[in-house]
Amino acid sequence: MKGIHFTRKQLCIPYALFLICFVIAPLFVIIYYAFTNGEGRFTVANLTGFFSSPNTIGTLAYSFGIAIVTTGVCLFAAYPIAYILARSNMKKKHAVVMMFVLPMWINFTLRITALKEILTLLEGNLAYHPFLNSVIGMTYDFLPFMILPIYTTLMNLDNSLLEAANDLGAGSIQTFFKVTLPLSVPGIVSGIVMVFLPSMTNYVVLDMLYNSTYIMGSLIGSYFSAYDWHNGSMIALILLLIILVFTLLTNRFEDETSNGRGGALL
């Protein structure tokens, strides 16, 4: 009875194929388009064009603006909730956490459409507050992504550290700022990464809430629908690089803090 035997390597083949076809190859296509012009010749005009045009810089700034404000609002809304949930002795804690995750089970266009009607009731005319509406929509959409990681780190926080802080004479406020907050930084960082990056490009929310200003995602879309693959690809590539730099930075930050934490604990 020998039969067919799959080694671990062989089992990786389907995923590797998927990776090559749908991740690696498209990346090369994007790079090819980003650095060629209409005649297929090499050019860096798309790159210089991106940084010399007030449009793209303005759009980049606007996207950053939306993303920063959304992330900030999410963080300030999510941290207290996660903290209270994690520290409380409630019996049905998981049910409450579930309540915050529940909206994610409902299709997001449906949620935004509902939000649109609610905001119309509150504001009267949505068109007067496009920036505010976009931030509300994004916050509504991404809040669970901020709550969950913070909640998990706070749950795993070693209680004896807090007790030690108390024993050594720290008040509750001091304990929070000297112990709890620094130890929850990894959760905060992963929450920020999960919220910041999608809110820079999620233009569907803007479209549905009648914000007619372009963000990075819509700018790429508008180039593509005008058959201009080259400029669109360049913007996509630059966005990719921004995200890469951002991820590397936060990774380093995370590592440092965990090292630092280790040092502090010793």
């Binding site: 449009n55 606007y62 009648y210 700018l219 508008s222 629908s225 005008a226 502090a264």
Partner: protein
């Protein structure tokens, strides 16, 4: 024990792999076709079951706008009973009916692979990226582009033979549409050689008469009218917006009696509305920037719902969607009206064209494609499509077949007891004689400002209409750039307070970071010394 578990896992993995192999090609097909209506998919399944019995079968790949053909399944009470006794009802989808009709008529089986596209730009991208279709239905400017790129197969001579009873298109097409298709040329070849019309219409403003007067709505300037700030929507596509902005920019010229009454009015109007000089593009950009600060939204589809729900008071709309919006509002118990701007309106067509990449030299396939167009042009089928989608068919009906006109009468004709009625002239469309008594219907007066006016505009509307040409690459690029300029955020718009806030935020973040680093260094020093 462990061995048997291992075996089960192996069998399971093998089974999953086999399934993936089986599913992939099917998935590919569905993806390549994009959206497939369920009925069409059923049909193709049925047809493929029967492939064994018939030795030749033609596959016709058709790509049309979404929701742009009758899908059948009407309720019995939706039946259209015309006065001359004709009864029209869509039981099956138009595609199914065509397959059946083709087999009955020619004895050859055709399988229609029906799929849809969302915008002309999407269709063009699909064609460029290698999707192959035989018959597609783009708007006039994309037809012109495809003609200029030599990607179309001309209709055969047989198609234009008026003596053949099955040539419903050439027998039924409105003289008005026929004239436009023959007089518009690309590189010396008339549209009519490559394109057969399907639906047509004009652009205008749907508005709420309780809040806006008809005079205010009858101009493109309503988009920039601050009186209705944030209560009007504009189209989220560069061509339609450009046209409206031209109308605003050239309002004085276009409404000047000297200009309107000049001998070469139509030629000059067409020229003015296709003005893509750099100076004009710059002016249009200013106009559209004003619009952007004044309108409720740039919409592609949401405008209809926002109009019906009362969020906006007026919206820039294509005539077919205007009919739909007014119908919906009427169901909700309030009335909307349609106005065509006094300056000028955009006359548009959607038409069937055959692609070289799909048809090639396959005569049997070309015949099936032409038969498909003819079948859609059969007056009762034209009525079915019009009833289902709300747009206006190019078909006027043959000399011996007045089904389309009867349908209009059935839709809009005044009841006998009604008092406030108007005679509505449609001779220009049905017979080519504007004052033809035979094609005049008596309608309730309100219809001259509502659905009928949108679906079949009056002759004076047609008189001030212009076709928007397709622009060459340079002009296209300039216009698209202008559109991006309008839509992108301008850094100069940032208020001073935000700059100050950003600076304070940046400085404080720096300070916090620095204090963190200092603290860490202090820790390190302390650690080393201990």
């Amino acid at each position: 024990m462990k061995k048997s578990v291992n075996r089960i896992v192996r069998i399971f993995v093998a089974a999953v792999l086999c399934m993936v192999c089986l599913i992939l090609p099917v998935g590919n097909r569905v993806m390549a076709g994009g959206y497939k209506s369920s009925s069409a998919a059923d049909v193709s399944k049925k047809a493929s079951d029967e492939t064994m019995s018939s030795d030749e079968e033609i596959t016709l790949r058709v790509c049309n706008w979404e929701e742009y053909i009758d899908l059948g399944d009407w309720d019995e009470d939706e039946r259209i009973d015309l006065e001359d006794g004709t009864e029209i009802i869509g039981r099956n989808s138009m595609v199914e009916d065509f397959e059946e009709w083709y087999y009955d008529t020619y004895g050859v089986r055709v399988k229609v692979e029906y799929s849809c596209f969302g915008t002309n730009e999407d269709l063009y991208n699909m064609l460029t990226l290698g999707d192959v279709y035989d018959l597609v239905c783009p708007s006039e400017y994309l037809i012109m582009k495809l003609m200029a790129e030599d990607r179309l197969v001309p209709y055969s001579e047989k198609f234009f033979d008026e003596h053949n009873d099955l040539n419903y298109y050439i027998k039924g097409v409105s003289p008005f549409i026929k004239e436009r298709f023959e007089s518009n040329e690309i590189n010396g070849e008339a549209w009519s050689q490559y394109a057969a019309g399907y639906m047509w219409g004009v652009t205008g403003i749907v508005y709420n008469p309780a809040e806006i007067t008809r005079a205010e709505a009858s101009t493109w300037a309503i988009l920039n009218n601050t009186k209705y700030s944030r209560r009007v929507t504009i189209k989220d596509n560069v061509r339609d917006s450009y046209f409206a902005a031209l109308g605003i920019q050239k309002k004085d010229l276009l409404t000047n009696p000297d200009f309107v009454n000049s001998d070469d009015y139509h030629e000059r109007l067409a020229e003015e509305m296709n003005d893509v000089s750099p100076e004009m593009i710059a002016l249009v950009q200013d106009v559209l920037q004003d619009s952007r600060d004044n309108v409720y939204s740039f919409e592609t589809d949401s405008g209809k719902a926002d109009m019906v729900s009362g969020k906006v008071l007026a919206n820039y709309q294509w005539s077919g969607d205007a009919v739909y919006t007014m119908d919906q509002a009427e169901e909700d118990g309030f009335m909307l009206e349609f106005a065509v701007p006094d300056e000028c309106t955009n006359l548009y067509f959607d038409g069937w064209v055959m692609l070289k990449a799909g048809i090639g030299k396959d005569k049997a396939k070309q015949q099936a494609a032409e038969a498909f167009v003819n079948f859609l042009s059969r007056p009762d089928n034209a009525v079915r499509n019009m009833y289902y989608i709300g747009y206006t068919s190019v078909i006027a009906g043959a000399a011996d077949d007045d089904t389309v006109f009867e349908y209009l009468d059935w839709c809009y004709g005044a009841e006998e007891e009604e008092e406030d009625v108007t005679d509505y002239q449609l001779g220009y469309f049905f017979s080519g004689e504007p004052a033809d008594e035979a094609y005049m219907i008596t309608v309730p007066s309100e219809q001259t400002e509502r659905q009928l006016y949108a679906q079949y505009p009056t002759e004076d509307v047609i008189n001030r209409s212009a076709i928007m040409q397709y622009f060459d690459d340079d002009a296209n690029k300039a216009i698209n750039q202008m559109w991006i300029n309008v839509r992108c955020y301008n850094l100069e718009d940032v208020p001073m307070s935000v700059w100050i806030f950003c600076m304070i935020a940046g400085v404080s973040v720096l300070l916090i970071l620095m204090s963190c680093v200092m603290e860490k260094r202090a820790y390190k020093k302390y650690g080393k010394s201990s």
